[in-house]
Structure formats: C-alpha cells, structure tokens
C-alpha cells in the first residue's frame, strides 16, 4: 500500500490562517499593551493575505483533496471571501470599543481568526467529520469570545447558556450523522448523495437521522423553535462579539445547509422541505412578532435575525438552483446589513455607555445626520423597502418560492414582513422624529470606524441600486 501525499493547494488558505493564528498568538505574548496594535494590524494583514490566497488558488470547478474530505469549489470561495470581509469589518469596528473597555487583547483577534478558520473548514467540508470539525472549532471560539469580558456577569451567563445549548445541538447533529453512517455506510457527502438517490424509498432510519441533522442545523442558524439562545447571547455579549456572532457564522451556516441537506441529502428533498416549511414560517412569525416588544436594540436585532433566517430557509426549501442562489444572496446581504447595524451601536457607544437600548438612538438625526441616514438604510434595508438591498434579497427569495409553485408561502412571507416593518420603522421614528435628550453630544469616534461604517452603509444602498453583479456572482457560485 502506497502512501501518496494529498494535494495541499486547495487548502492553502486554511493552512495559512492556521499558521498565522498561531504566529499571532506567539507574537502577542511578547507585546505590551501599548504595542497591541501590532496584533491588530497582523490580524487584518492575515485576512487580506488569505483573501488573496483564496483568489489565487481558486479553480472553476470543485477540487477534492485529503481523501475527499475537503472541497474547494466556487460556492465555497465566494462564501469565504464574504466571510473574510465580515471578520475584517468586525476587527475594524471593534478596536476603539475594546480599547476603551480594557478588552483590547490579543485573544480577541486570535479567537476571531480561529473562528474564521472554523467557518472556512465548514464551508469547504466534503465529509461529515470535516463539517463537525469546523463547526466545533467555530463554536469553541465563539464561546470563549463571549466570555472574554470575564468581569461581566451577563457575558459569562450568556456564554454558559450558549455553551450548554450549543453542546446539546452539536450532540444532536453528531447523533444524526452517526445514524446516517449506520444507514448508508459512508460519511462522504457525494457518496451519501449517490446512495440516497439509488435507494428506492426513504427508510425510517434515514428520515429519523434527517430530523436530528435538521435540529442541529437549525440550532446553529437560530431558527424557531431552536432560537432561545440567540436573544440572550446577542444581548449578553459585548457588542463587537455580538457583531461577530451575528454576522459571519450565518454564511458558514448557509454553507452547512448546502453541504448537508442539498449535496448530501438532496434525495430526501420532499421530506426536509416539509420540515423546513414549518420551521421557516414559525421563524418568520416569532421573529417578527416578538421583536416588536423589545426595548434593547441588540435583542431586537436578534429577533429580526430569526425572521431573516426564516426567509433564508424559504430560499433553501424551494429546492431549485434559483432557490439556493437566492438564499445565498439573502445571507450575504443580510450579513452586510447586520454588520452595519451592530457597527452603529459600536459607533454610538462610549466608555461606560453601551448605547444598546433603542431609546439611545433618540434624535440621532440632530446629532449626526449622516449616521442617522446610515442607520435608516440599515433599517429600511432589513425591512425590505427598496431601493435598499434587502428588498432585492426578499424579491429573489420570493421569486424562487413562487417559481417552485408555493405562492401561498410567498403570501405568508410578505405578510410577516409587514409586521416586521413596524419595528424597523420604529427605530427610524426614534432617530428622526424624537428630539435628542438635553446635553446629547455629537457623535464622536475614530475616523477609521466612521469611514468603514459609512462605506458599509453606502454598500446597502449601492447594492440596492445595482444588485445585478452580486446576483450574478451568486448565480455563478451555485450551478448544478
């Protein structure tokens, strides 16, 4: 038996991130607090270099390596590039915030990079074991990041909550995978797909395992009824961590759905479609209705995430290439909007003032018309009002759903988007119609945060006016 070395090229970005994360961890030990910026710069440079590497090794079709455990394909590369972008945004937004709170430590960035590596592995996984590996790497990094502010009671509590529930969900997923292995004898996604396609009818065992897999996936994505952790974690974690938890992992979770459900269990589409319809409608309903009652902006955004997840699931359950493309477009644009939304909270926060209540945005138009406009773009974008990009995301998904012959589901979806419009416009109302409290200061923060956030807000508008290129990119990323 000959041992042949696997092809390393497709996985070069992952290896690079791993190496650099370890390197930064080492370098950071030798830095004192005054020179901590070196870690920051190194982390950003790592992300930039990884992006370059990803583009450099990208191939048109799928490249399998490591005994078919790992795949480098177009969808993965596009998703990874957006993941890099989002993680870079997190790093850019959070610097001043962390520094003001004595949290500007190397660990935040190293954990962030490890989490990013976990996402990259998830996105590129072609075997259930690889998926699990990436998922756990991401989850462990997230638990630690949430708990990083160790003097904060709520942060520790939400980390604990996330950890316990996340462990249960991981266990469920693993259990489902093990039944799948028992039923089909393989963990390879392609082989699994072939096996299911060839078997005449879905066996009880397969459907049973499918149920467990879906529970695990929906937990990670935060869909109802597995959403309980989401509002608490969003609220409890410090805002930069919330920004991290609430943005990039959605891209990885989308990849997870694609790899597991579509590529692996695509033969069971009829079965999982029914499950996802229920979960999606429930997510939109609970997410839209409960968000109305929130006074904390982070909690409100958490519930809004849940309803957006319902929309993403709509695209996936349509079960067509256009449906998957629309879900991808939705995920990417949602992440861009969420990043700007949490970025706004970071912008307004000062030392000793979190600015995470909705009322803290009172009269923002008087304090800073420009950033009020950015937040307006985020809110109307999330509500799905044109010309902001959120509208086209909804349009794309609705098109796929109607195309799949489920017009009634589209009607249900738009119905809930009316309800959710209420809490988004309430934020706009607070910013524009209410007067700023006495003594409110103009918005002050570092220039880098201002510029990047402005760019992020403009992206929401520009992608709405010209959504064509991003749509074409998503269409090219997922082809069958």
């Amino acid at each position: 038996m000959n041992f042949t070395l696997p092809a390393f090229t497709p996985a070069v970005p992952e290896m690079f991130v791993l190496g650099m994360s370890c390197f930064i961890l080492l370098v950071d030990v030798f830095l004192n607090d005054r020179n901590r910026a070196v870690t920051w710069w190194l982390s950003l440079a790592t992300i930039a270099a990884t992006a370059w590497l990803t583009v450099a090794v990208a191939q048109g079709g799928g490249l399998l390596t490591f005994d078919n455990m790992f795949v480098n394909d177009r969808m993965g590369n596009v998703l990874k590039l957006f993941t890099y972008l989002t993680v870079a945004l997190v790093f850019l937004y959070s610097r001043d915030y962390l520094a003001e709170r004595n949290l500007f430590k190397g660990e935040f960035y190293v954990l962030g990079l490890f989490g990013m590596l976990g996402m990259m592995v998830m996105i590129s996984a072609h075997n259930f074991l690889t998926i699990y590996l990436g998922l756990e790497l991401l989850s462990l990094s997230l638990y630690a990041m949430i708990a990083l502010d160790r003097d904060s009671g709520v942060a520790s509590e939400s980390a604990m909550k996330y950890f316990v529930l996340g462990a249960i969900a991981s266990g469920t997923l693993l259990y489902g995978m093990s039944i799948l292995y028992g039923a089909t004898g393989t963990l390879d996604i392609t082989k699994l797909g072939v096996h299911i396609a060839e078997s005449p009818a879905a066996s009880i065992g397969l459907i049973f395992s499918l149920g467990f897999v879906i529970v695990g996936l929906c937990f990670k994505l935060g869909a109802v009824p597995f959403h309980m952790w989401l509002p608490d974690v969003y609220e409890g974690a410090s805002t930069p961590v919330t920004l991290y938890v609430g943005s990039a992992p959605k891209l990885a979770a989308f990849a997870l759905f694609m790899r597991l459900l579509v590529e692996g269990l695509g033969g069971l589409h009829d079965e999982w479609r029914t499950m996802l319809i229920v979960i999606s409608v429930l997510s939109m309903a609970i997410g839209s209705v409960v968000a109305i009652a929130q006074t904390n902006l982070k909690r409100m955004l958490a519930y809004s995430t849940i309803s957006h997840v319902g929309f993403i699931l709509l695209g996936i359950l349509a079960g067509t290439a256009a449906g998957y493309q629309s879900a991808m477009f939705y995920t990417v644009t949602y992440v861009i909007m969420a990043a700007a939304g949490f970025g706004m909270i970071i912008l307004l926060a000062r030392k000793g003032f979190e600015s995470d209540r909705i009322d803290d945005f009172k009269g923002l138009n008087e304090r800073s018309p420009w950033f009020a406009a950015v937040m307006l773009a985020v809110m109307f974008g999330m509500a799905g009002v044109p010309p902001f990009v959120g509208f086209f995301a909804k349009l794309y998904v609705l098109r796929a759903v109607i195309d799949a012959g489920m017009t009634w589901l589209a009607v249900v979806a738009v119905f809930f988007s009316i309800i959710s419009a209420y809490y988004y416009i309430r934020v706009v109302k607070i910013m524009y119609f209410d007067r700023a409290p006495e003594g409110a200061r103009p918005v002050e923060s570092g220039l880098d945060l201002r510029w990047v956030l402005s760019g992020n807000g403009l992206a929401i508008l520009l992608l709405g006016v010209l959504p064509g290129p991003l749509m074409a990119l998503c269409a090219r990323a997922i082809t069958f």
């Binding site: 307006l376 509208f391 988007s417 209420y422 309430r426 524009y432 119609f433 959504p467 074409a472």
Partner: protein, 504 residues
C-alpha cells in the same frame, strides 16, 4: 431619432441629485438651500415641458422611451416611457413640486435642507413611477417613495405625526407587498417584467381574480377607496402643508394610475366581473364620505375627506367602461368615463393642492386648523378670500373651473350605464357644494371672529404667487379642456380597445 435627449431619466435623477446637493449645502451654506431647491425644481419643470410640446398625440405607444438592461439575472430593464395617460401626471408632479418648494420658503425653519431634499427626492421618484414601463422598476420607485414621505410627515408634522406617519407607512406597505407577489407571479409566468408583456399575456380567470385583488389592495389604499381610506385624514391633518399638497395632488393619483396601467389591462376579465365592487366602493366614497366631510371641524380633515370623495369619481369613471360595454357591446362612448376620470385626476391635483395651500396660509397665521377659530377672515384678507372662494367653487364643480369638466363627463357616462349610478354620483354636486361653501361661509364670512383674526395680515407676494399659479390651470382647463383631452385621447382609446378583449 436614435440618441435623443434622455428626458425621462433627467426627470428621474435630476431632482434626486438636487436633493443630495441641497443636503450637502445644508451643512456648508445654509442660506443657499432655498434658492438651490428652487433652482432644481424650476430646472426640472423646464425639462419636463418638452414632454408636452413634443408629444405626439396621434399615437398610443410609449414615447420618449429609454431602455437599458438593469438586472440581467431577472431580466429587469431600466425602461422608461410615457403615453397620454402618464405624461400629464408627470407635468403635474414637476409643477406642484415648484409650488411646494415656494410654499415652504419661510414656514419651515427646522432642518430646512432635509425638508427641501426630501421633496426633491420625492419628485424624482414620483416622475419615475409615472414613467416606468418595467414592472419591477415601477415597484421599486413606488415603494421607495414611502421613505421620504414617512420622514416628511414624521419630522415636520403636527402633534400626532408619529401615529399618522406610521399608519400611513404600514397601510401603504400592506397594500404594496401583495402587489409585489402578483408582479413576481406574472414574471414567473412570462419571464419578463415588462408591463406591456404583462398586459398581453393570457391569464386564466382564477389567476386574473387573484392578481386583480392583489393590485386592488395596493391601489385602493393609495387612492384611497372606502374602507381603506382611514390613513388619509390622519396623514393629511398631521403632514406639513407641503406634504399634504404632494399627498393629495400626486400620491393619490398613483393609485388611480395603477388601475389604468395594471389592473384593467392585465386582468380585464376580472375587472369586468368585479366592476360591481369598484362601482359600489366608489359610490360609497362619493356619498358617504361626502357626508362625513360636511361634519368635519378641522379644515384639513374636511379637504382630506373631500379628496376621498373626488377620487371616488375617478375610479367610478374608469370602471363604468365595463358596465357600458356589457350593456351596449360597443366601445363607443366608453372612453368618455375614462377621460372624465383622467381630467378629474389632473384637476383635483391642482384644486386639492390649492385647497391645502389655502389652509396652510391660514394655519401659518393662527396656528390652528379648527374652523370655529376663524370667521370674517374676508375683512382682513380680501386677496386671500378671492382665491379661497375660487378654489372652493372649483372643488364643488362650478362650471368654468376644471372641477366641473371631469365630474360632468363621469356623470354623463354614468347615465349611459345606469340611471341610479348617475343619480348617486350626482349627489356630489350637492354634497360638494355643501361642504365647500359651508366651509367658506364659516371661515371667510360673518363678523370678525376674534382678536386673533383681527390681527391677520393678507397674503404676501410669495403666497399670492403660489395661489395664483394654482388658479391659472384651474380656470384654463375649466374653460378649455380640449388640449388635455387631445393628449390623452389616443392612449385612452387604445386602453379601452384592449380591456374589452377577453384574455381567457
């Protein structure tokens, strides 16, 4: 004429760019904001004039067309064009925006740059709505319009502005999203968002009914028709004067325009079978809302309700077409109702806009809209009283004003369809006179009501200018409506011939 001047694009984008310039100017040179806004609105109006002068009245096809691909994945085109139905409405929009800019000249002090910018951006979006020939582009502009209007009512409105503006937003959003589902459905069926394609595509009866209902939800809220009109009085009362003017003069017309552009040609058989519903709702609006208008104690509310009643005339005129065709099986005579409705739209744009401007003039002096706070105003403000009486007369359809032409054409058409419908519609002559003239009587005439009224000053040159500018078209089109009819005739005939063809 391949590379003609893209006049419609300029009308869409110039005001939006102007709005951004005004916003930027608000920071660096606040004193120039008014003049900049006026300049942009005047230039836009000037650009829109060739639409009228170079319009070919002999054809019903789209003119001044522009068409470039916008989103290739969806086969969406940035496609603009106008016919005889859309063109007058665009001119109305560009004209009214000039008035609104002048009307806000001294009155608005808080965040003036944002105020002017919001109206300029609105103008661009409204021009786009009337000129879009692509369904998705239409929808995008239609919805985008909500944002500046939401801000206008909410920031510069009255005491209950938050309630009013959220109600306005949610009502309109509610109607529109179902229209979106209908548009996507037709796209999935036909593979294109082109409105022309929508109009030509065959559709089964069930699909037609559902599409008609979806569009009805959107347009009925916008028109507004009874019973979804309740947002309008609230929005009007709380909106600043400029907001009320744009709302009444342009936004309401979009609902009616939607019936002509979407509902009737896309779902003609459903329109035919649901004509009874629209006619009934229109008559309720005319009669019941007319009575409601009489008892209002707030001037703006009164004008708002009278708008609902007048818009009832518009929808009635449109849908009588199906009744007459069902009765006589010939298209002759059916166009008159549609044309009457169209004239009514244009004329109501000027009249209601002017009425709101008049109320604004009074409000600026006494800061109340209660009718009983006034009385004997004519003694202090004779010039104002002249205009107020003129517009009130036009509002109740006095011959010689533009208000008469539309109502008369619609009632005449109704008589062809059914005597009782004509009888109901004619109620407006008496109800309109009742609420308009009673308003005039209580506000203008009688002894001077109180000391505050005694201190009122007559209208300034600026106010004289805006009211005078409104009065000109009201009288000109009242005496000589032929040019307006000429412009729309070919398009209306084409529409009528199209909608009487069954699609089944």
């Amino acid at each position: 004429m391949t590379a003609h001047f893209p006049i419609l694009s300029v009308l869409l984008w110039l005001p939006i760019v102007g709005g951004l310039v005004v916003l930027a100017a608000g920071r660096v040179a606040p004193t120039s904001v008014r003049w900049l806004a006026l300049l942009f609105s005047l230039v836009t109006f000037a650009v829109s004039l060739p639409l009228w002068t170079q319009f070919d009245t002999s054809t019903a096809s789209m003119q001044f067309v522009e068409n470039i691909p916008w989103i290739s994945t969806f086969n969406v085109h940035y496609a603009l064009g106008v016919d005889g139905i859309a063109m007058p409405l665009i001119l109305l929009t560009t004209f009214m925006t000039v008035l609104v800019v002048i009307a806000g000249w001294e009155v608005i002090q808080y965040k003036l740059a944002q105020y002017m910018a919001a109206f300029l951006i609105m103008e661009g979006l409204m021009d786009g709505v009337f000129s879009a020939t692509d369904g998705l582009l239409f929808y995008v502009l239609w919805e985008a319009m909500l944002i500046p209007m939401f801000i206008i009512i909410g920031v510069w409105g009255g005491p209950r502005r938050v309630y009013a503006t959220i109600k306005f937003f949610l009502y309109t959003f509610l109607g529109s999203v179902f229209m979106l589902v209908a548009i996507i459905y037709m796209y999935v069926q036909s593979g294109s968002f082109d409105i022309q394609t929508f109009q030509q595509m065959p559709l089964g009866m069930t699909a037609q009914i559902l599409i008609f209902v979806a569009f009805l939800l959107a347009f009925a809220v916008k028109v507004p028709m009874w019973p979804v009109h309740t947002w309008l009085p609230d929005a009007h009362v709380e909106a600043p004067t400029g907001g009320s003017v744009i709302l009444a003069a342009i936004l309401l017309k979009m609902g009616a325009y939607g019936f002509l552009r979407f509902s009737m040609p896309i779902a003609p058989d459903a329109s035919q079978s649901l004509t009874w519903l629209i006619v009934a709702l229109s008559l309720i609006a005319i009669i019941y809302i007319g009575f409601v208008a009489i008892v209002q104690a707030d001037m703006k509310k009164l004008v708002a309700y009278s708008s609902v009643a007048h818009m009832g005339f518009v929808t009635l005129g449109f849908f009588l077409l199906f009744m007459i065709f069902g009765k006589t099986a010939s298209v002759s005579g059916t166009a008159m109702g549609v044309e009457g409705g169209m004239i009514q739209m244009i004329s109501h744009g000027f009249i209601s806009g002017a009425m709101f401007l008049c109320v604004g003039v009074l409000y600026d002096r006494l800061h109340t809209r209660e009718i009983k706070a006034y009385g004997g105003v004519i003694n202090m403000m004779p010039a104002f009283a002249f205009f107020f009486v003129l517009f009130a007369m036009a509002n109740c359809g006095l011959p010689g004003t533009s208000g008469f032409v539309g109502e008369w054409l619609v009632i005449l058409t109704a008589m062809k369809a059914n005597f009782w419908i004509a009888f109901g519609a004619a109620f407006t002559l008496f109800l309109g006179a009742a609420y308009s003239l009673w308003l005039v009587k209580r506000v203008l005439y009688g002894p001077v009501g109180n000391d505050h009224v005694a201190d009122m000053k007559d209208i300034s040159k600026r106010e004289f200018l805006i009211l005078g500018l409104c009065a000109i078209p009201v009288i000109v089109f009242g005496i000589w409506p032929a040019p307006l009819l000429d412009v729309m005739h070919a398009s209306v005939m084409n529409l009528v011939h199209h909608v009487v063809q069954s699609k089944l």
